[in-house]
């Protein structure tokens, strides 16, 4: 089987690669969004803590 043949998927290239492609993209994006969410939550909380400790000084 050649590389071109593999990507042609017996004429079903559009359907097979659209299915696998969109699935892959979504399953990569979701963890990335979660990492961003975690970072922004942590930043927000540490800012609040810093502000509170400065008030006490």
């Amino acid at each position: 089987m050649s590389v071109a043949e593999f990507f042609d998927m017996g004429g079903y290239a559009l359907y097979v690669w659209s299915s696998f492609g969109v699935t892959a993209v979504l399953m990569v994006i979701e963890p990335l969004l979660l990492r961003k969410r975690r970072q922004s939550v942590l930043q927000r909380i540490s800012r609040i803590i810093r502000m509170n400790s400065e008030e006490k000084l």
């Binding site: 017996g10 097979v16 659209s18 299915s19 699935t23 979660l34 969410r37 909380i45 540490s46 803590i49």
Partner: protein, 249 residues
């Protein structure tokens, strides 16, 4: 009281579940990456060409696992929703909210890959048949749950309202499952059944099961990772959060 009961209630507190989830995320991420890696290899290089659908049938290896997960995640959400209503535990609502986006994503993937499989095989992207329509309703249930929770500021109340919506919507799950039996659908009947075994070749079946297990591990990793952020957001004013190493930078 027996020791198992004590342990369960200990981990229902967000403060002790947060570090536990943190330890479990990398484990399930690793399992997911390995299983999906093997599953993808088998999908394209091991599983044979189908005698009727040629290479086009390979869509099954994402379509069926995603569809299974879309229903399974909903049932797990319903479990947490019921637990939250009965025991009034904070963590239950957080777990339900954490699972919803991933469930919606797998429902979307099932519909999307179904359309791209239906076009070449049935000649149409979409039909209003019982299986497809009930799966679309599942997507709306997920989105409705997310929207409802987003619309209510008080987290206790949004958890209760969301839990009710989820539990009412559970009726849709058996409808999806049995739709291909109850109605004449364009969608084919089940190829894999608990009572009758499988009508697929065993290598195709194994590939599908490995992909499904990989998706399952992915869903656990993602849901646990999301619930950690939800815990931090909701518990930000507590002492235990302010004492966390990742917050004290």
């Amino acid at each position: 009281m027996n020791s198992r009961l004590i342990n369960w209630f200990k981990f229902s507190s967000p403060a002790s579940f947060y570090p536990l989830a943190g330890k479990m995320v990398p484990v399930f991420t690793l399992i997911a990456v390995m299983l999906i890696g093997v599953g993808l290899y088998m999908s394209f290089f091991v599983a044979p060409t189908d005698y009727k659908q040629g290479e086009g049938y390979r869509i099954i290896f994402v379509h069926v696992p995603a569809a299974w997960l879309s229903m399974f995640i909903y049932l797990v959400m319903a479990f947490w929703a019921a637990l939250g209503l009965v025991f009034n535990t904070r963590l239950s609502g957080m777990m339900a909210s954490s699972l919803a986006p991933t469930g919606a994503m797998f429902t979307f993937i099932a519909l999307w890959t179904g359309a791209f499989w239906g076009k070449p095989m049935w000649g149409t992207w979409w039909v209003w048949d019982a299986r497809l329509t009930s799966e679309l309703i599942l997507l709306f249930l997920y989105l409705g749950f997310i929207a409802l929770q987003g619309a209510i500021d008080d987290s206790r109340r949004s958890d209760r309202a969301g839990a009710l919506l989820i539990l009412v919507g559970v009726v849709n799950i058996p409808i999806i499952h049995y739709s291909v039996k109850w109605w004449n659908t364009l969608h084919q009947g089940a190829s894999v059944s608990v009572t009758q075994g499988s009508s697929m070749s065993s290598i195709m079946l194994w590939t599908m099961l490995i992909m499904a297990l990989g998706f399952w591990a992915y869903a656990i990793a993602v849901a646990l990772s999301r619930v950690r952020s939800i815990i931090l957001e909701r518990e930000r004013d507590t002492t235990w959060v302010s004492e966390l190493a990742e917050v004290r930078r």
